[in-house]
C-alpha cells in the first residue's frame, strides 16, 4: 500500500518533446510577437499580424512534416494520428482567424501616432499581446491533440482558455467587452472547477491519470459488470465541464452575451478555438470509456444524446430572435455544437471522423463569414446590426459574396463544404442507428435556414436606410482577403472532399491498429 507507482510522467513527457515542435514554434512566436508589439517603430508593430499568421502557418507545416504518429503511439497518445489532422487544420483556420483580426487595432491611436500627434502608448496599442494571446491559445489546442494524461489535458485546456479571457477583456476595453469578459471568465472558472472535480473522480475510479491506463481500468471494469458509478460520475462531470468550451446545453448560457460583447474578430476566435479544444477534450476523455467502440456507459450516451438535441434546438430557436449579428452567430455556434454532439452521441469511429471533418468545415465557414462581416465597422464598436449589412453588395461585393457563401455553407446547402459536414454526420449517425438524432438534425437545419437567410439576403437585397449613419470601412484588407480565400475554399474544397475524408479517417484509424 505504501508502495508508490513509478513516476513515469516526466520521462514520458521528455519523449514527447519531439512531437511538440509546432507548439514550441508557436510559443516562441507568441513571445516574439509580444515583444514586437512593444516596439515604437510602426513598421515593426505592423508586422505583428503577418508574423503571427506566418507563425501559425509554419506551425501547421511543421506539424505535417514532423508528424510522427508512431512516436505518438509509442508515447501513449490515445489517438496518435489525431494531431496529424487537427494541428494543420487548426493552424490553417487559425491563420484565417488571425487575418480576420488584421483590422483589430486601435485605429485612431495608430493614425495619431503616425501623424506624430500622439505618443506611442504600448498599453493602448495592444496588437502585440493580443496576437500573442491568440497564438498561446492556438498552441493550447495543438497541445491538446497529443495529450496523454489528464494533467496535460488540463494544462492545455487552460492554455486555450486563459488567453481567450484576456482577449475578450482587452480586445476593446469598452463596457460590453468587459461585461463579456467578466461573464466569460467567472463562468469559465466555474466550469473548469466542475471539470477538475470530474478529473478527480476519474482518478478515484481508475487510480490513474494516464489515458491508456484509465482506458485499461475502465475496460476491466466494464468486463466485470460495468464501469463504477464513481467513474461514470467523473466522466459526466468532465463532460459537463467541457460542454462549457463547446457551448453545449446547459453550459451555453454565457455564449450569446460573450459573443455579442466581444469584438467581432474575437468572437470569431471564440466560436472556433475553444470549441475545437472542448471537442478534442471530450474525445480524449470519453475515448477512455469506449467512445469509438460504442461501449460508452449508457448514462453518458444519454447525456450526449440529450445535450445534442437541446443544443441544436435551443441554439437555432434562440438565433431566430436576434438583431445582433454576433449574437446570432453565437446561437448558430451553439447549434453547430449540437450537430457535432450528434456525431459524438453516435459513438462510432466513423462518426468521430465526421465530427473532425465538421470542425474543419465549420472553421472554414466561420472564417469566411466573419471575414466578410469584419469589413464594416462603426466608430467605437462593431457594425453588428443586420441592417448594417444593407448595401454591402455595392461597397464590397467580395465580402457580400463570401457572407452569402458562408451562410449557405452553414445552412448545409450542397455542394458547399458545410453540406458535406452534415452529410457525414448524418450518414454516420444513421449507420449507428440514431435516427431520432438525425431527424432533429435535419429539422434544425431547416430552422437555421431562416436566420442564415438573413445573412444572405440583407447584404444582397436590402438598401441602406438613408437616415442611419453609414458604416465605416475596415481599413485593413486582411479580413476580406481571408474571407475570400476561405469562401472560395468552401466552393473548391468540396471537389476534394474525397481526399479530405481520407485524411480525416486516418486521424482515427491508428488507435484501432494500436489496439
Amino acid at each position: 500500500m505504501t508502495m508508490l507507482a513509478p513516476i513515469t510522467l516526466a520521462s514520458s513527457m521528455a519523449d514527447r518533446v519531439g512531437l511538440l515542435w509546432p507548439e514550441l514554434l508557436l510559443l516562441i512566436a507568441a513571445m516574439v510577437v509580444a515583444l514586437m508589439g512593444l516596439s515604437k517603430d510602426r513598421t515593426i508593430r505592423g508586422a505583428v499580424g503577418p508574423v503571427s499568421i506566418l507563425a501559425v502557418l509554419a506551425s501547421g507545416v511543421l506539424a505535417l512534416v514532423t508528424g510522427g504518429a508512431e512516436a505518438a503511439a509509442a508515447a501513449g497518445v490515445p489517438f496518435p494520428a489525431l494531431a496529424q489532422w487537427l494541428k494543420p487544420m487548426v493552424a490553417l483556420i487559425a491563420a484565417g482567424l488571425m487575418a480576420v483580426q488584421g483590422g483589430f487595432v486601435d485605429q485612431a491611436l495608430e493614425a495619431a501616432i503616425g501623424r506624430n500627434a500622439a505618443a506611442f502608448n504600448p498599453l493602448r496599442a495592444i496588437r502585440g499581446e493580443f496576437h500573442a494571446f491568440a497564438l498561446f491559445s492556438i498552441a493550447g489546442v495543438m497541445l491538446l491533440t497529443t495529450a496523454t494524461d489528464l494533467i496535460w489535458l488540463f494544462l492545455a485546456l487552460e492554455l486555450v482558455s486563459l488567453p481567450t479571457y484576456v482577449m475578450v477583456a482587452i480586445g476593446r476595453s469598452d463596457r460590453p467587452g468587459l461585461e463579456a469578459a467578466v461573464k466569460y471568465f467567472f463562468l469559465g472558472a466555474m466550469a473548469t472547477a466542475v471539470m477538475l472535480m470530474g478529473f478527480a473522480l476519474l482518478y478515484g475510479a481508475t487510480g490513474s491519470l494516464q489515458f491508456d491506463l484509465i482506458r485499461n481500468a475502465f475496460g476491466a471494469q466494464a468486463a466485470s459488470g460495468g464501469i463504477a458509478l464513481l467513474g461514470v460520475g467523473g466522466l459526466m462531470l468532465t463532460a459537463i465541464g467541457l460542454f462549457f468550451k463547446i457551448t453545449a446545453v446547459p453550459m451555453h448560457f454565457y455564449a450569446p452575451d460573450v459573443y455579442e460583447g466581444a469584438p467581432l474578430p474575437v468572437t470569431a476566435v471564440l466560436s472556433f478555438i475553444p470549441k475545437v479544444a472542448g471537442f478534442v477534450g471530450l474525445i480524449l476523455v470519453l475515448g477512455t470509456a469506449g467512445l469509438t467502440s460504442g461501449e460508452l456507459p449508457k448514462p453518458i450516451i444519454a447525456l450526449l444524446w440529450m445535450a445534442a438535441i437541446l443544443t441544436m434546438s435551443l441554439g437555432n430557436m434562440g438565433a431566430l430572435l436576434q438583431h445582433s449579428m454576433k449574437r446570432t452567430m453565437a446561437y448558430s455556434s451553439i447549434a453547430h455544437s449540437g450537430y457535432m454532439l450528434v456525431a459524438l452521441a453516435a459513438g462510432t469511429t466513423d462518426a468521430l471522423d465526421a465530427l473532425l471533418f465538421y470542425l474543419f468545415a465549420y472553421g472554414v465557414t466561420t472564417v469566411a463569414t466573419f471575414g466578410g462581416l469584419a469589413v464594416i465597422q462603426r466608430a467605437g464598436g462593431d457594425a453588428d446590426r443586420f441592417e448594417d449589412l444593407a448595401g454591402l453588395r455595392r461597397t464590397n461585393p467580395w465580402a457580400t459574396s463570401m457572407i452569402v457563401l458562408g451562410a449557405l455553407s452553414f445552412t448545409g446547402i450542397p455542394p458547399l463544404l458545410g453540406f458535406f459536414g452534415k452529410f457525414w454526420i448524418l450518414t454516420s449517425a444513421f449507420e449507428a442507428g440514431q435516427v431520432a438524432l438525425c431527424i432533429f438534425l435535419v429539422v434544425n437545419s431547416l430552422v437555421s435556414a431562416r436566420y442564415y437567410l438573413r445573412f444572405m439576403a440583407t447584404p444582397v437585397i436590402a438598401e441602406p436606410d438613408s437616415n442611419a449613419t453609414p458604416t465605416e470601412r475596415n481599413p485593413s484588407r486582411a479580413p476580406v482577403l481571408a474571407s475570400v480565400v476561405f469562401g472560395l475554399a468552401l466552393l473548391i474544397l468540396p471537389c476534394f472532399t474525397g481526399s479530405i475524408f481520407g485524411w480525416v479517417q486516418q486521424a482515427t484509424d491508428a488507435p484501432a491498429k494500436a489496439q
Binding site: M236, P250, K298, L303, L314, V447, R450
Partner: protein, 707 residues
C-alpha cells in the same frame, strides 16, 4: 351479338344481321388524307395571314378553294368507294404496346375509317362548308381589315376538325375533332370579341361542350377498358363479345358517349349554349351551329351504334332526351323575337328529333333528318344572315315586316319561305319525309313510352310550324316596315343593302339542295327504289338501326295488319297527323301574325292576365329561366366555393398553418428568453440547474431500468 332487347322494343321486326362488316386496310386511298390536310393547310395559312394582317379577300378564297377541293375529294371517294368499310392509315399518333395480346396496346393512329356513313356525312359537311364559306366571303367583307383572315382560319379549323371527327379511324381522333370543332366554335362565336356578350357566349359554348367532352373522354377510357381497343375497325368487330370488364362498366359506355353527344348537339340539360352561340357571324351559325357541327352528336351515336345496341336502356334515354328536348326547345322558340334565336331553338328542337330517331332505333330516320335539316336550316340561317347584313344587324321580328316586298330581298324571302316550309315539315317537303321516318317509329312502336314520344313529336311538329311561320309572316310578309339595327355605319337615311351574287348564289344552291334533299324520299315513294340515305347507311356502323327500319319500312309498305295506328299503318298515320299538325300550326301563325297581328298581342295579354298561367309568356320569352337556374345552381355555388377556398388557402392554410409552423421555432425560442437575463449569477444558477435537471433525468431513467 345478342340483340334480343331491341327486337322487343321495335314492332315485330326481326333484325337483319347487324354485324358490321370487317374493314379492309386500303392504303391506296391515302389521297383522302388531303381532305384532312387541305383545311389544315388553309387554317395555318389563314392564321399566318391574320397575324401578318393581310388585307384582302385572299383568306376567304383560299378557304373556299380548299373546302371545295375537299368536297371534290369526297365526291371522288363516294364514287370509288368499295362496298365495305375501309381503313386508311396515314401516320402514327399515339400508340403504345406493352405486350403481345389485346389489352396490351393502345393504338390511336392518324387513320381514316371510311364507310358510307362517313361519306354521307362528309358530303354534306364539306359541301355545305364550301357554300357557306363562299357566302361568307361576301358576308364578312366589311371585316376585311379586321378579322377576315381570322374568320376564315376559324372556318378552316372547323372543317379540319370536323373532317377528323367524321373520318377519323378511332375514338381518339374523333375526340380530337370533337374538341377541335369546339375550338372553332369558340373562335367564331367570339368573333366579335369586343362585344362582351359574344365573349361570354363563346366561353359558355366551350365550357358546356367541355362537360360533354368529359363524358366522351371517359367513354373512350371505358371503351378501351372493356374492349381493349378504340379503333373502330377492331372495336365493332368485337363489340358483341363478352366484355373484359364487368357488366356495369360496359353498360356505362353508351351513357358516357351520350353525354358527349348531348353536349355537342345541344340536347337535354346541355342545350343552353346553342342559342347564345348566335352571337357569332351568321355564316357560322348556319354552318356550325345549324348544319354540321351540332350534328356531330348524331354522328357519334350513329357511329357507335353497335355499342348502343348492346344497351337498349341507353337508347331509351336517348329517345326521351331527344323527344323532350325537341318539345322544350319548341316552347321556347315560340316566344322569341330574335330571328336567329328562333332558328337556334328550332335547331335544338330538330336535333331532338334526330336523337329521338336514334333512340327509337331508326338511325336511318335520324340521319335522313340530319341531311335534310342541314340544308333547310342552312338556308334559313343564310337568309337570316342576308337580312341581318342588309338591315345593319336587325333581326328582331317586331321591327321587321314585309321584307318580301323590298327590292333585293325578294329572292331571300322566297328562299326563307322554302326553308320555313321545310322546317315546318310541310307535306311532301324533304323534312316531312325524314321527320315522318322518326315519328312513325315512335307512334308505331309497341312501347307506350315510345308511342308517347311519337305523339309528343307530332305535337311538337305543330309547334314548330307555328313558330316558324310566326317568324316568316312577321318578318317577310305583311306591310313593309323596318328599323335598322345597331350596326349602322353610314349617316343619313338608312337604306337596306341587298345581298350580291355570292350570297345569293349560296342561298340558291343551298335552297335547291334543300329541295333535292327530299329526292331520296320521292324516289323511294314513287319509284319504289331504295332510299338513297338508307343505302348510304347500309353496311355502315349505323346498319343495325338501318336494318330495323328497313324491316319496319317493309312492314309499313305491306300495310300488314299488326301495329295499326288510328286504323292506318304507322307511316300513314304519322304522315296524316303530321300534315294536320303542321298545317294547323301554319294556319294559326297565319291568323295571329299576318291576318290579325293585334290578336297575337291581345292573346298574350289575355294569357298574362289569367291567373295560374299568367307567368308563361314571360317565362317562355326568358327561356324558362334555365340559364338563371344553372347560374344559381352550378356557377354561383362553385364561384363562392372558389372564393372560400381561396380564403382558406391564403389566410388559413398559408398564413395560418404554414406560417404558424414556420414561426413556431421562434415562438418556442421566446419561451427560453428569460433564461438569458444578463446577470452573471443567474447564468450560473441556470447552468447548475440545467446540469441538475439532466442529472435528475438520468437518475430517473436509470432507476426506471434503462435507457
Amino acid at each position: 351479338m345478342t340483340l334480343s332487347p331491341i327486337t322487343s322494343m321495335l314492332p315485330g321486326t326481326m333484325l337483319a344481321s347487324s354485324d358490321v362488316p370487317a374493314a379492309t386496310i386500303a392504303p391506296e386511298f391515302a389521297w383522302l388524307g388531303w381532305a384532312l390536310a387541305l383545311p389544315a393547310i388553309s387554317a395555318l395559312a389563314c392564321t399566318l395571314m391574320a397575324l401578318c394582317k393581310v388585307k384582302g379577300k385572299l383568306p376567304g378564297w383560299l378557304t373556299v378553294a380548299s373546302l371545295g377541293t375537299c368536297f371534290v375529294l369526297i365526291l371522288k371517294a363516294y364514287q370509288s368507294m368499295p362496298e365495305g368499310p375501309i381503313v386508311v392509315p396515314l401516320a402514327e399518333w399515339m400508340s403504345f404496346s406493352w405486350g403481345p395480346s389485346d389489352f396490351h396496346s393502345l393504338q390511336a393512329a392518324l387513320e381514316l375509317y371510311i364507310d358510307r356513313l362517313t361519306i354521307f356525312w362528309m358530303l354534306f359537311v364539306s359541301g355545305l362548308g364550301t357554300l357557306i364559306a363562299l357566302y361568307a366571303t361576301e358576308y364578312m367583307e366589311h371585316d376585311v381589315k379586321a378579322g377576315y383572315a381570322r374568320f376564315f382560319a376559324g372556318v378552316s379549323i372547323f372543317l379540319f376538325a370536323m373532317t377528323a371527327l367524321v373520318m377519323g379511324g378511332n375514338l381518339l381522333l374523333l375526340y380530337l375533332g370533337w374538341e377541335g370543332v369546339g375550338l372553332a366554335s369558340y373562335m367564331l362565336i367570339g368573333y366579335f370579341f369586343t362585344r362582351p356578350s359574344a365573349v361570354a357566349a363563346a366561353k359558355k359554348a366551350f365550357i358546356v361542350n367541355r362537360i360533354g367532352d368529359l363524358g366522351l373522354a371517359l367513354g373512350i377510357f371505358l371503351t378501351w377498358r372493356c374492349y381493349g381497343t378504340i379503333e373502330y375497325s377492331e372495336l365493332f368487330q368485337i363489340a358483341g363479345n363478352p366484355p373484359r370488364d364487368g357488366p356495369w362498366e360496359e353498360a356505362l359506355i353508351p351513357y358516357l358517349l351520350m353525354l358527349g353527344a348531348f353536349g355537342k348537339s345541344a340536347q337535354g340539360p346541355l342545350y343552353v349554349w346553342l342559342p347564345d352561340a348566335m352571337e357569332g357571324p351568321t355564316p357560322v351559325s348556319a354552318l356550325i351551329h345549324a348544319a354540321t357541327m351540332v350534328t356531330a352528336g348524331v354522328f357519334l351515336i350513329a357511329r357507335c351504334y353497335p355499342l348502343f345496341l348492346l344497351q337498349p336502356d341507353a337508347l331509351t334515354v336517348v329517345a326521351w332526351i331527344g323527344g323532350l328536348t325537341a318539345f322544350w326547345a319548341a316552347t321556347i322558340g315560340m316566344a322569341q323575337y330574335d330571328m336567329k334565336r328562333v332558328w337556334a331553338y328550332s335547331t335544338i328542337s330538330q336535333l331532338g328529333y334526330m336523337f329521338l330517331g336514334l333512340g327509337l332505333g331508326t338511325t336511318f330516320g335520324a340521319c335522313f333528318h340530319t341531311f335534310t335539316h342541314a340544308f333547310f336550316k342552312a338556308c334559313l340561317f343564310l337568309t337570316a344572315g342576308a337580312v341581318m347584313h342588309g338591315f345593319a344587324g336587325q333581326l328582331d321580328i317586331r321591327k321587321l315586316s314585309g321584307l318580301s316586298k323590298i327590292p333585293g330581298f325578294r329572292m331571300v324571302s322566297w328562299f326563307a319561305l322554302l326553308g320555313a316550309l321545310w322546317l315546318a315539315a310541310f307535306p311532301f317537303s324533304a323534312a316531312f319525309f325524314s321527320k315522318d321516318e322518326i315519328l312513325s317509329a315512335g307512334v308505331g312502336s309497341d312501347r307506350a313510352d315510345f308511342q308517347f314520344l311519337g305523339w309528343l313529336g307530332l305535337f311538337t311538329a305543330g309547334l314548330t310550324a307555328y313558330y316558324t311561320f310566326r317568324v316568316w309572316f312577321r318578318a317577310f310578309a305583311g306591310p313593309v316596315h323596318f328599323e335598322p339595327g345597331e350596326e349602322v355605319h353610314a349617316h343619313g337615311e338608312f337604306h337596306p343593302h341587298s345581298p350580291r351574287w355570292a350570297m345569293k348564289l349560296s342561298i340558291a344552291i343551298i335552297g335547291i339542295g334543300a329541295v333535292l334533299a327530299g329526292y331520296p324520299a320521292y324516289e323511294a315513294m314513287f319509284l319504289h327504289k331504295e332510299n338513297w340515305v338508307q343505302w348510304m347507311m347500309a353496311g355502315s356502323t349505323a346498319v343495325g338501326g338501318a336494318g330495323v327500319v328497313e324491316q319496319a319500312a317493309d312492314h309499313a309498305a305491306e300495310a300488314s295488319s299488326g301495329h295499326q295506328v288510328l286504323g292506318m299503318s304507322a307511316h300513314a298515320a304519322t304522315s296524316v297527323a303530321g300534315s294536320i299538325f303542321g298545317i294547323g300550326g301554319i294556319l294559326i301563325a297565319l291568323y295571329l301574325h299576318l291576318i290579325r297581328r293585334s290578336a297575337a298581342d291581345s292573346l298574350r295579354r289575355a294569357i298574362q292576365a289569367t291567373p295560374l298561367i299568367g307567368w308563361i309568356p314571360g317565362a317562355a320569352e326568358n327561356k324558362w329561366y334555365v340559364d338563371e337556374i344553372y347560374n344559381a345552381v352550378f356557377c354561383v355555388p362553385l364561384w363562392v366555393t372558389g372564393h372560400v377556398l381561396h380564403f382558406i388557402d391564403k389566410h388559413i392554410l398559408d398564413a395560418g398553418v404554414v406560417d404558424g409552423i414556420g414561426s413556431s421555432p421562434s415562438l418556442v425560442g421566446r419561451v427560453f428568453r428569460p433564461l438569458y437575463g444578463g446577470v452573471l449569477q443567474s447564468y450560473a444558477v441556470t447552468m447548475a440547474g440545467g446540469v441538475g435537471l439532466i442529472l435528475a433525468w438520468l437518475a430517473y431513467t436509470w432507476l426506471r431500468g434503462g435507457f
